[in-house]
């Protein structure tokens, strides 16, 4: 059973958004190992698909936001879209982990009347171009704080995250087999999703346990894919959303988080964003119908389940192993498109798109009667609660 670790009486009602913003359009390209086109072209294709989905003319877009690591500037995108006036723009710099943080910023801008229609986009040749698993790409060449870690072989995101995982295994008793069940469950979801990279390739727990170590304790099938592709979402006020083409996914809560002075080594950011997220949403974790969680590495799905309060610390492994994150009978289906491990690695854009599909009822692993669709895009660096339009 899901534990109500957060008591509704503890919530701060002043954090509730009074004027709602909604995601009204989603778009993506195909996912591949070699797109054969530029990141800008992938970006524009995804944005046009999202605007077509929403029924909004590209000239009407007045806000553009992106990941700092995205190479397509707001200016060049605006030029191609022919926007009449770009009134809100910006990027957030926290590597891949900024999807929901961008949504939180976009919501604030729309509520403040700084912009009316904001597109958040991501277009990347993550396999044929810059590969984030490479120390030459994500390392700092021994500069800055890299001077104190890189000479010893700690270079890439996977190194730091593997280090934290090892310590958390030691502290909580979670095992590689638990991690494997995350990978196996997500692969099962991908096998139901024709867009997924691993649509036609099943995965067993034995496959996972027999796969080679990349950076121990991470095995090959604990690691996200490397993908070429693009994705985009369109946001506007709920008031305007009501006249658009598709049913809106209302942003009930959106928060971001980057640093906490009281953080212990094995805490994820989820522990610190959670109280604010649940306060904004005025719901408990047990009320969430379906969750998308940033799965750069499989153990972090379990850590997120624990640190957001869906389960107690140390119990996430058993939760996953007993099938509770599966679309097929689980109490909280997680990463229903196959996630970064088996659909594509779009640095959190997957989570945003799938979170919206679950509200619309269009996922290939659709959960019935979704009231609250949870989206994490960085184990606590940003998170959303999406919901259908219940506001008449």
């Amino acid at each position: 059973m899901l534990l109500a670790l957060f008591n509704i009486n503890d919530y701060d009602a002043s954090m509730v958004d009074k004027s709602k913003v909604a995601i009204v359009g989603i778009g993506e390209t195909e996912y591949s190992r070699e797109s054969g086109r530029s990141e800008l072209v992938l970006t524009l294709e995804a944005i046009m698909a999202a605007l077509e989905d929403a029924g909004i003319n590209p000239h009407e877009v007045d806000g553009l936001m992106r990941w700092s690591v995205d190479t397509s500037s707001e200016a060049i995108v605006a030029e191609n879209l022919g926007v009449k006036s770009l009134n809100w723009f910006g990027d957030i710099n926290q590597a891949g982990n900024v999807g929901a943080a961008l949504v939180a910023s976009a919501c604030a801008a729309i509520r403040s009347n700084l912009a009316e229609t904001i597109v958040i986009y991501r277009g990347v040749n993550g396999r044929s171009g810059r590969r984030y698993g490479s120390g030459a790409v994500t390392g700092r060449r021994g500069q800055g704080l890299g001077a104190f870690s890189e000479p010893f072989g700690l270079l890439t995101p996977q190194h730091g995250l593997a280090m934290m995982t090892q310590r958390r295994m030691y502290e909580t008793g979670i095992t590689s087999r638990h991690f494997g069940m995350v990978s196996v469950t997500e692969r099962f979801h991908a096998n139901r999703n024709p867009r997924a990279t691993f649509f036609d390739r099943p995965l067993t727990i034995e496959d996972h346990q027999n796969s080679r170590f990349v950076v121990e304790p991470f095995r090959l099938f604990d690691c996200c894919l490397e993908t070429d592709g693009g994705g985009a979402i369109v946001l506007t006020s709920l008031e305007r959303a009501k006249s658009l083409r598709k049913p809106p996914a209302v942003v009930r809560a959106a928060a971001q988080h980057a640093y906490a002075s009281t953080r212990d080594y094995t805490d994820t950011a989820a522990k610190f964003i959670a109280p604010r997220l649940w306060s904004q949403a005025q719901i408990t974790p047990s009320e969430v119908s379906v969750a998308q969680i940033y799965d750069h590495f499989s153990p972090f799905v379990i850590f997120a389940l624990e640190d957001y309060g869906f389960v107690a610390r140390g119990e996430g492994g058993d939760f996953v192993e007993s099938g509770q994150m599966s679309w097929d009978g689980g109490i909280l289906p997680v990463n229903t498109s196959g996630g970064h491990l088996s659909e594509a690695y779009m640095q959190g854009m997957n989570q945003l798109l799938e979170g919206v599909r679950q509200v619309r009822g269009t996922s290939t692993s659709q959960v019935q009667d979704v009231n609250f669709s949870f989206v994490d895009t960085g184990i606590g660096t940003g998170a959303l609660i999406l919901e259908p339009d219940i506001y008449g």
């Binding site: 704080l145 190194h159 080594y265």
Partner: protein
């Protein structure tokens, strides 16, 4: 298991770039001293170096000499090199050592197979001169 290659004299090709605010740390190492930044106001140790104390926002600091003893706090083993500097050095264990005084350092353990490394093992610092400017702090097991 294979011993780590180059284990006796590790020679990272990826060397630290010394920045002005960190220079005293590296100068101390070249004298075979492990010194950690200490706030002159509240005496809290901090590593890696930072301009300001996160507790009291004091800029002034000294560099406290460490015993060099500690234990393994966590570790990873790189099997697939992610940088050309480590191409011939896998499997390579990278550890976090928690010093007896509290600060945690990233390092390597000398003279041990990666498969033998465990959290909680007691270690002590070993200074390895890399060139005229850089001496790196490695660790070895205390018997």
């Amino acid at each position: 298991m294979d011993k780590q290659k180059d284990i006796m004299i590790p020679e990272p090709l990826l060397m630290p770039v010394i920045e002005v605010e960190h220079s005293f740390f590296w100068e101390s190492l070249s004298k075979n001293e492990l010194r950690i930044q200490k706030c002159s106001n509240c005496a809290i140790l901090r590593y890696p170096p930072n301009p300001m104390c996160s507790q009291c926002q004091f800029f002034e600091h000294s560099w406290e000499l460490m015993s060099g003893n500690g234990e393994i706090f966590s570790y990873v083993v790189t099997h697939q090199p992610t940088h050309s500097a480590f191409r011939d050095r896998t499997p390579l264990a990278t550890v976090i050592v928690e010093l007896d005084e509290g600060p945690r350092l990233v390092s390597n353990i000398l003279n041990i197979s990666p498969s033998e490394i465990k959290i909680g093992m007691k270690v002590r610092v070993v200074f390895q001169k890399m060139d005229d400017e850089i001496t790196l702090p490695f660790f070895e097991l205390i018997d």
